[in-house]
């Protein structure tokens, strides 16, 4: 019976329930799209990583056969593969060809795929790449025999050269192979590449005595897929400790582990946005029911008089809401299912480079990865129904408190002044009528305004952040000058020894001669040279980086540097001592450091390794594009840290933002080796334009949907006000109110809600927006550096609110007219 009453009520209060349904529908859509986009961002990232990255967690080097047996039985190791480098093939110099054995598991862990054929099985079989053969000056097909000259490593020394014919058993796919060495991808045209020629186990065991075979034991730990890097690292080190594997023989695949790492702040961000959606839904649905409760009191009173229990009255309200949700949620899920894939691709483009977009589309549309997840549907249903339930708690409580006498006493649902008297207005104008109604319905008006304003404030706060994120500011913040040259540095890179910082400081391409030439280029105004000294710091560990650069700031930026200090105090001159550093505040995200702390840095200049204690003298905001590293000091201070040529970066200031001729002229001065990289302000600016455009689009789409949810409040309040006053309005019309006057009066009432919402949203939203801007600036979100009032957003909110209420008033006026005037006069609730 209760369900029947609820169902009848759902139909009777059709308009209100349609509005509630729209709010529930939109809530459901957002609650589905948000986690779907979030989860798939993570999943596609993992999918791409797993396709292209070597996926072992770590490898232990110099492992003998006995240890392989023990390790393979360890419970902490989920899967493993073996590799053994046994020598070098000659004839491809300056490229290097390593003769390597890998087993099938190892090939899998390296993500190595064969273009054709199989891994070598027989003693004379080999697997190669076409480019390796090319480097050897030959060509061959599967099954062909190639004659190779090689040296094997026996007893830790390279033995005499040998020659042997091998049958090509397989060709390794080049594009999808991450080099067997831990090096990054190599330039196609590079003359000194590193290749691997794979040999069989039989060959290995025949040529190398069993006791001399040393493997690389590549493995994945048994940690959860989404485990944090630290946990995996702990497991790796703990296993190594158990078996006495020295620290130097542990190689952790950081690239893979970092890439598989889910930033908890990303998950938290999605969760917070979902909570905001739920809050908007709760406020809106609650407000819709709250505003409509007055109309129901009499009906509920009658039911109470007929014997309904309090619990039953509550159930009537609850079941009606749940019935609406039962219709709205499936429609929402259907719409969200259709929309989410497209939303995801938009969102993906926002965060990822173009080169991956096609791959992601392939993965998504090729059905290679499940895009829709049952648990998200379940979560959506559960959270949306919970939202509806929470929204209805207060109306349910109100319903349960209705007494039997309400049915008799409450014969007029319109709000009447408690005093029964008030000072009359001498003249009655439309504005007076609107004012009397609004003030007479103070509670409803306040609930409507507050519930709309909550979303309005949120919209304004987000709009503040978005308006402060301008591509120009962000690019200016990232790049100092119009062109930047910086050293392309790597450490312990056998393939690129020329990029090693310890070598570069003895033959630095960013020398005075280059700077002089740069400044002579037509269109270049000046060039500023920054230095850098690379250090290791045990206290900071190697979680963020193995090497921490200490930037040398040239004297011309002394004032800028000093003005950017936010904590502590130090002058540029004091930083010349070489004993103090300033720290970028962004380092605080990683390290718990403060002004006054002292850190011991280990400097390896290629000639000697020594330690230097440096005090953090101040914290600096990472602004103005010159402070990319965690630590910095005066350029002269660097001289006291280490010798050599420490130039690291040249910031070039030109008369125009981008000039191809200037760019070409700069490029022409750079060495042929890839030891110097060039970056332009324009590139960074274009990247920000694209990113921020997408970001704005996605954010405003989200805010738009959220706003529609909140607009349901005013739609309901106004429909409700017209419905409840049907008879009054009829009477006013009988007394001579024209249709135009009716629409005007409704407009004036709507204006009140809109003005109230606008004042609160824009007032409070702007007030909250500024501290949020300061926070975003501090956290370097989107490179925000200067405050821009979100005037466009404020105007759009005002225009939308104004437009909606005008349309609403016109629609309600028209609806009111549809029923004959006499019927409205006779109307009694």
């Amino acid at each position: 019976m209760i369900t029947q009453i609820s169902f009848k009520n759902m139909k009777y209060y059709r308009n209100r329930n349609i509005i509630t349904g729209i709010a529930i529908f939109l809530t459901s859509v957002l609650l589905f799209i948000l986690p779907t986009v979030g989860v798939n961002l993570i999943n596609t990232q993992f999918e791409i990583i797993n396709r292209y990255y070597a996926k072992y967690h770590a490898q232990y080097r110099n492992v003998d056969s006995a240890l392989v047996k023990k390790l393979s039985a360890h419970h902490g190791i989920a899967r493993y593969g073996l590799r053994s480098d046994i020598g070098y093939v000659s004839g491809a110099e300056p490229s290097t060809i390593i003769l390597t054995y890998i087993d099938t598991e190892c090939a899998e862990l390296y993500n190595m795929r064969l273009e054709e054929g199989h891994l070598p099985n027989a003693e004379d079989e080999i697997a190669v790449t076409h480019s390796m053969l090319k480097a050897l000056g030959t060509e061959a097909r599967l099954g062909d025999t190639v004659n190779l000259k090689f040296q094997l490593e026996r007893n830790r020394t390279l033995d005499y050269a040998q020659e042997k014919s091998f049958v090509i058993a397989g060709f390794i796919a080049e594009t999808e192979t991450i080099e067997v060495s831990e090096n990054e991808t190599q330039p196609e045209n590079s003359q000194n590449r590193l290749y691997s020629a794979l040999i069989s186990k039989d060959f290995l065991e025949k040529e190398i005595p069993q006791q001399q075979i040393r493997y690389r034991f590549l493995f994945q730990t048994g940690n959860d897929e989404n485990a944090y890097y630290d946990d995996v690292k702990d497991s790796i080190e703990s296993i190594a400790n158990e078996f006495g594997i020295p620290q130097g023989d542990i190689v952790i695949n950081k690239q893979y582990l970092y890439a598989n790492y889910v930033d908890p702040s990303f998950v938290a961000g999605i969760a917070i946005i979902m909570i905001i959606v739920v809050a908007a839904g709760i406020i809106t649905i609650y407000s819709i029911y709250y505003v409509g409760m007055a109309e129901r009191i009499r009906e509920l009173g009658k039911l109470r008089a007929l014997g309904a229990e309090k619990r039953q009255l509550k159930q009537i309200i609850l079941r009606e809401g749940l019935c609406v949700a039962a219709i709205a949620v499936p429609i929402g899920l259907l719409a969200a299912t259709l929309l989410s894939k497209q939303c995801f691709l938009w969102f993906y483009q926002l965060y990822s480079e173009d080169i991956y977009s096609a791959e992601v589309k392939k993965i998504l549309y090729g059905g290679e990865m499940a895009f829709y997840h049952g648990w998200i549907y379940a979560l959506d249903i559960a959270v949306t129904f919970a939202t509806v339930y929470i929204s209805l708690l207060m109306p349910m409580r109100k319903a349960s408190r209705v007494s039997e006498t309400e049915a008799i006493r409450y014969n007029d649902t319109r709000v009447i002044s408690h005093r029964g008297r008030r000072r009359s207005h001498t003249d009655i104008r439309l504005s007076t009528l609107a004012k009397i109604y609004i003030t007479g319905n103070g509670k409803n008006s306040i609930v409507t305004i507050v519930s709309m304003s909550v979303t309005g404030i949120f919209v304004m706060a987000v709009a503040t952040v978005l308006s402060c994120a301008t591509p120009r500011d962000s690019a200016d913040n990232d790049v100092l000058g119009q062109y930047v040259l910086h050293l392309n540095i790597s450490f312990d890179d056998m393939e690129h020894p020329e990029r090693d910082w310890r070598n570069l400081i003895h033959d630095n391409p960013l020398n005075d001669e280059l700077v002089e030439k740069l400044e002579k280029i037509n269109g270049v105004e000046k060039a500023s040279v920054f230095g850098n000294v690379y250090t290791k710091c045990e206290e900071l560990g190697s979680e963020v980086d193995d090497y921490y650069g200490i930037l040398g700031i040239p004297e011309e930026y002394a004032d800028t540097m000093e003005s950017a200090i936010v904590d502590g105090s130090v002058t540029y001159d004091e930083l010349k001592s070489g004993d103090k550093v300033i720290m970028n505040t962004s380092a605080l995200y990683w390290f718990d450091l403060q002004v006054g702390d002292k850190l011991v840095f280990t400097i390896d200049d290629g000639e000697r390794v020594y330690e230097k204690e440096l005090e953090i003298a101040a914290m600096i905001e990472p602004r103005y594009g010159f402070m990319g590293d965690f630590f910095a000091m005066a350029y002269d201070g660097l001289e006291k840290l280490c010798g050599g040529e420490k130039q690291y970066r040249v910031n070039i200031f030109a008369s125009s933002e981008y000039d191809e001729e200037v760019y070409d002229a700069i490029k022409a001065l750079l060495p042929e080796t890839d030891t110097v990289n060039i970056e332009t302000w324009q590139e960074v600016y274009d990247m920000w334009v694209k990113s921020l455009r997408m970001m704005n689009m996605v954010c405003y789409m989200f805010l738009g949907i959220l706003s529609v949810i909140c607009l349901m409040n005013v739609v309901n309040t106004m429909i409700n006000s017209v419905h409840l006053r049907k008879k009054d309005i009829g009477m006013m019309q009988a007394a001579g109110m024209t249709d135009t006057q009716l629409v005007k009066m409704l407009c004036l009432e709507g204006m009140f809600y809109m003005a109230g919402t606008l004042i609160v949203s824009i007032g409070v939203g702007s007030a909250i927006g500024y501290p949020i801007f300061l926070w975003a600036k501090h956290k370097q979100i989107f490179g925000i550096s200067s405050y821009h009032y979100p005037i466009t957003a404020a105007v759009v909110i005002a225009a939308v609110l104004f437009g909606v209420q005008m349309l609403l008033a016109a629609a309600l006026g028209r609806t009111a007219k549809r029923e004959p005037l006499i019927e409205r006069i006779r109307f009694s609730e």
Partner: protein
């Protein structure tokens, strides 16, 4: 005396499923200015519909209603509303006061809608005559039935209409109040020289009228 109201072959039928109710059936009448006319008839005879048609609250199926020479149904919706607030005063059985407005505001509402400035002296005079001047700041919910109906009468008189249409104005009142309201109405009509058309099923009240029209099945008989 000149004709203030002229009804020509007025028809209004209602269809309720298969049955057609002839609420007003080819009715033609003329009413002179300044007269008190009572329309009597049984419940469901069509007297209320006739009054609503005269006041332009409903539109007829056919026929015409002329008030002071104006064919009211030739007017568009907004013009008809303007005409109504200037020329017609309504008094309903259930008062139809706006609950959120005070007595004063209810009375001056038609003037406000017509963008006319309120003549405070005139409205105070009406309220005093009607006997509710002490209630002018009260909300309708605090008034008795008689006071509510007096307020409705004051509202009808405030615009100095050409014609007052009263739909069983004493139907909800006790006999004592009924007599008071009726004598008040008559006095006001006489004093302000207005035309009063009243619907009633009470023969005693009908006898107070200058002219009585009997309506049976939508047709008028004098």
């Amino acid at each position: 005396m000149s004709t203030i109201l002229k009804i020509q072959d007025l028809v209004k039928y209602y269809s309720t499923g298969e049955t057609v109710v002839k609420a007003v059936d080819h009715t033609s009448i003329e009413i002179e200015r300044g007269r008190f006319t009572a329309i009597v008839g049984r419940s469901g005879s069509g007297k209320s519909t006739l009054l609503h048609l005269i006041g332009g609250l409903e539109r007829p199926d056919s026929g015409k209603v002329f008030i002071d020479g104006t064919d009211i149904f030739s007017l568009k919706s907004d013009k008809l509303a303007q005409f109504r607030r200037r020329k017609i005063g309504f008094i309903f059985q259930d008062y139809n006061l706006i609950p959120s407005l005070t007595v004063w505001e209810n009375v001056v509402l038609p003037l406000g809608l017509d963008h006319r400035r309120v003549n405070e002296a005139q409205i105070t005079d009406i309220l005093e005559k009607i006997g509710i001047s002490d209630k002018k700041n009260s909300l309708p919910s605090t008034l008795s039935g008689g006071q509510k109906q007096r307020t409705a009468i004051a509202r009808a008189l405030a615009v100095e209409p050409t014609i007052i249409l009263a739909d069983e104005p004493t139907g909800n009142l006790d006999s004592q109040t009924e007599l008071e309201v009726m004598s008040l109405l008559k006095t006001c009509v006489n004093e302000y020289g207005q035309t009063l058309i009243m619907i009633t099923h009470d023969q005693t009240i009908a006898q107070m009228a200058d002219r009585t029209l009997l309506i049976t099945d939508g047709a008028i008989n004098e």
